[in-house]
Subunit: 216 residues, 2 copies
DNA sequence: CATGCTTGGGTAGTGTCACTATCCAAGCAT
DNA sequence: ATGCTTGGATAGTGACACTACCCAAGCATG
């Protein structure tokens, strides 16, 4: 398959594919002549994954490259590959340590983790705090600054719901046979179910609001 | 309070505050002299909301302006104000109608809504499909193109979880007294709980993965 | 009252990001 | 031989969220 065909089959312009090749999100094709290269189904699949991560999952190109690199790092076992990949996902601004609300938020988050019995360490297990943990602290601090309640008890129902979601996620992942497939599936499902969750939440809120405040 | 004090109290640079004033995210201060203006606690509060929406909630400046405009539109009742505000939140690319996966995704989404008994219309009730609905269709289609299962039955547990989350959200909102406060709270909680949910999900996935695949 | 610093408003510039347009030589097709 | 297509490289584009600079008006200080 040549570049033009890869483009039509994926719906991505040749210019953009060339950009992804330059950025290392896609392996170079097999060179046929000095001016032609051959791409296969693997390229097509990877290209679709890249597009979905960037456009639907809103992952920056640089992060996508890191995630993909982690996916195929032969040095690592399955767990670490997955952990490293999720580690590379964007996670917003770091907590603002100069703000006292951050300290308070960090205490709330730690208390929540304790109550749930969660570890929040990295893939290597040496408990460098996960990026998602910083993301949580930042969000709790922002809510606190605005005067919205965010005590451990307020967060617990959300955490419990996410516990069930995570179990469902991993059930889906375990449908896949090989570790390689599982790791890719885990990343794809983590990233692409995010918009699914957020949109379902907004729809559910609209529905609940309609039910509570009159159905007209 | 003058601009400089607003800046130190909020932690936002004067240049950025001036930018927000220009963009209409913040009302102009009360003019004292030709070169001085006075800002109050309301400005500080609004500024913190704007910052949180943009930095933590990752809302573009233009969308934030629309959301805030809807919040204080005196023409509308509470439900419509809220609906209009949530309507203005970013919702990713529209579904790609030229792709057959989109048709299939739309059928899946409709079936899901039916099974849950949800409406998916707008705040005005005339059922122009909600932006969140398009967001859902886009995500399902992307998953389908990658070969990941996304049948109605796969989505239902996620939707059920979000149903409970939405109920919790609205319980929090109902703590607030006046409709004005409730509308602001609803938007703030919708936007700022999104990173909370996503980070909790990633932490829960890490925890669940640790439990299933060995805790070392 | 002169001097110099600060203030708020306006304009123009910056860095990042995700592409996109253009150019070029090599090749294939007729 | 001629002209179109291909892949690679370089430079440019438009959106975005600021950010730096300039200016005239004010206040503060000796």
């Amino acid at each position: 398959m040549r570049l033009a065909e890869l483009s039509t089959r994926s719906g991505v312009s040749t210019a953009t594919i060339k950009y992804y090749l330059r950025e290392g999100l896609l392996h170079p094709g097999r060179r046929i002549t000095a001016t032609q290269a051959d791409y296969d189904e693997g390229h097509l699949r990877r290209l679709r994954l890249v597009r979905a991560m960037i456009q639907v999952g809103r992952i920056p190109v640089n992060s996508a490259r890191e995630v993909l690199a982690a996916l195929q790092d032969e040095e690592l076992d399955r767990n670490r590959r997955l952990g490293t990949a999720v580690w590379a996902l964007p996670h917003g601004p770091a907590p603002d340590e100069s703000d006292p609300a951050t300290d308070s938020a960090r205490r709330t988050a730690t208390e929540l983790m304790d109550r749930l019995g969660w570890c929040y360490g990295g893939p290597s297990g040496e408990t460098p705090t996960a990026p998602a943990y910083g993301m949580l602290v930042t969000a709790i601090a922002a809510l606190a600054r605005l005067g919205y309640p965010c005590a451990t008890a307020d967060l617990e129902p959300y955490a419990r719901a996410m516990e069930r979601i995570a179990a469902t996620d991993l059930d889906l992942v375990e449908r896949y046979g090989t570790p390689d497939e599982q790791v890719e599936a885990a990343v794809a499902l983590t990233v692409l179910y995010e918009p699914v969750l957020l949109s379902l939440r907004r729809l559910a809120e609209a529905e609940e609001s309609r039910r509570r405040f009159g159905g007209k």
